[in-house]
């Protein structure tokens, strides 16, 4: 399929301070100089990225790097956000986005004392899907996360992975245009992870945009684009192929390590032109 990431020279490595070239593709998420202050310090610092519509974008980085906070800012539930953050053409957190954007928190947020179906029926009703329409939405979501066998099990008695899938299923209700998934594959077995990534791909092919956070680098290979976050700043934003090319590493894990080492222990700051790394030399750029 054709995604903007295949021409990685053009979008190359976008880092703090550099703007994506305007135009070409509709952006589902546009962040310009976004910082988030939490507990007296900036946990997200001057993030400028553009996530193209209809793609699966990975948000990767070590735990504590600000992935969840950035996702929360995009959902519009994070306080202390500065900068310009546009989601589906509207200000992040706008009331009209509540139908168009779905968000899955890192910890499964479902009612433990309700059954899987009862949970889904409630969330579907809030989205305006009741009666037969609601039942169909729920059945579709259950089939997508492969939980039909547990439809009438109480959520609190499910395993952690099953509960995470219930949480994910609630986000699929109502066919959202943008899905923001915070570590949706943590604790899932490899088969299920593969199936879920196939689902993400299907949703994107149907026109949805997905931003999926993970700290497992091998999941980056399943994404169209990868945003690597470290210490609250964007280290790189490129296609998996682009990351390999700029770092001369075959494994994305190594590419990630190379990028982190390039950045050194110091914060990555200041403006860098997208071409700075295009030459492929491994000079420290920070």
């Amino acid at each position: 399929m054709s995604t903007p990431w295949e021409t990685h020279e053009a979008t190359a490595v976008r880092t703090t301070g550099t703007r994506a070239p305007a135009g070409a593709v509709d952006a589902a998420i546009e962040a310009a100089g976004v910082s988030v202050r939490r507990g007296g310090r900036d946990v997200v610092r001057d993030v400028t990225v553009s996530v193209p519509a209809g793609t699966v974008t990975g948000l990767l980085g070590p735990s504590g790097c600000g992935k969840s906070t950035l996702i929360r800012a995009i959902v519009g539930v994070q306080a202390g956000v500065r900068g310009r953050l546009t989601v589906l053409g509207e200000r992040a957190g706008a009331r009209t986005l509540r139908r168009r954007v779905a968000y899955v928190t890192q910890a499964p947020s479902v009612y433990q004392d309700l059954t899987v179906v009862e949970n889904l029926r409630y969330f579907a009703a809030l989205l305006g899907h009741t009666g037969a329409d609601g039942a169909q939405e729920v059945a579709d979501a259950l089939a997508t996360v492969d939980l039909e066998d547990h439809a009438h099990a109480v959520a609190g008695r499910l395993s952690g992975g099953e509960r995470a899938r219930v949480s994910l299923a609630t986000a699929l209700l109502g066919t959202p245009e943008l899905l923001l998934l915070d570590e949706p594959t943590v604790g899932l077995d490899p088969v299920l992870r593969r199936d879920l990534w196939a689902t993400f791909r299907r949703l994107a092919d149907a026109g949805a945009t997905l931003l999926v956070s993970s700290h497992v680098m091998d999941e980056a290979d399943r994404c169209d684009g990868v945003i690597i976050l470290r210490d609250g700043t964007v280290l790189a934003h490129d296609s998996p192929a682009g990351l390999r090319a700029t770092t001369h590493e075959d494994r994305l894990e190594d590419a990630f390590l190379a990028l982190v080492e390039h950045a050194g222990g110091d914060r990555v700051r200041g403006d860098r032109a997208p071409g700075d790394r295009a030459g492929g030399d491994r000079a420290v750029v920070a």
Binding site: G76, V77, R99, T105, P108, Y111, Y122, A125
Partner: protein, 243 residues
């Protein structure tokens, strides 16, 4: 505001309660059992029991509703479901109205059961019949619910939420006129009792049972106004954006 979202929320809360039969049984049965206990405590009934039966009918549900709703809402906050709800198309008022409807339904069942036990086997004289007593009882339970929803915002653990019961309700119980008549209190305490909602909840129960000459409508209105005020304050504590 949307009736659909409120009703869906009320149905969901009731479903959760049904899934927890022990809590439901405690909510419904404990106040009635306490009333029976008081009956035997006060020497097999008589004037003292007639004096205290109905006020207790109302105050017990207030306390139990306060505890149940403050913990239910605290769970909603701590398990992340509240954050998810607030990213969905539901107004904060719808959420609170849903809780109000669900617990109001339970309160009505609780009030009917209590009034039935009082008027039936325990033989309490209800001068104006069962209906005003149930109405005052439901208003009491709603007050407990609204205070519980509001105060849950200030607790970060269930331990803290439980502590709000003695901290917030016991002073009101001491000052509402049940323990000492308000006109026998010092001026400062009488003024203090005049601004506490449970004082009016107690007055409503007294009037409903025909124990005082006062009207039922006035204290009942004050109680319902306090319920609305506490729910509005509760809505303010539901923040879509958090740190």
């Amino acid at each position: 505001m949307s009736a659909r979202a409120s009703l869906a929320t009320a149905a969901r809360v009731l479903r959760q309660l049904r899934r927890d039969p022990r809590t439901l049984a405690l909510l419904l049965v404990v106040p009635a059992l306490l009333l029976v206990l008081v009956r035997f405590l006060l020497n097999d009934g008589g004037p003292a029991f007639d004096r205290y039966a109905v006020p207790l009918v109302g105050i017990f549900p207030l306390v139990s509703m306060f505890l149940v709703t403050s913990i239910a809402m605290l769970r909603e906050r701590t398990t992340g479901t509240l954050e998810r709800l607030l990213t969905l198309p539901i107004a904060k008022g719808d959420l609170l109205a849903g809780y109000g409807l669900a617990f109001g339904t339970v309160a009505a069942a609780q009030g009917l059961l209590l009034a039935g036990v009082a008027a039936g086997p325990l033989g309490v004289e209800l001068a104006h019949g069962v209906v005003p007593v149930v109405a005052a009882g439901v208003a009491n339970a709603l007050l407990g619910m609204a205070l519980g929803l509001f105060l849950s915002a200030f607790a970060s653990t269930e331990f803290q939420a439980v502590q709000f019961m003695p901290a917030v309700l016991l002073p009101q119980l001491l000052l509402c006129g049940l323990v000492v008549d308000r006109d026998r209190m010092g001026v400062a305490l009488e003024w203090l009792s005049a601004v506490l909602p449970m004082t009016y909840a107690y007055e409503a129960l007294d009037a409903a049972a025909g124990l005082s000459a006062g009207s039922l409508a006035l204290p009942l209105t004050v109680v319902l106004a306090a319920v609305v005020a506490a729910l509005a304050a509760g809505a303010v504590t539901l923040r879509r954006r958090t740190a």
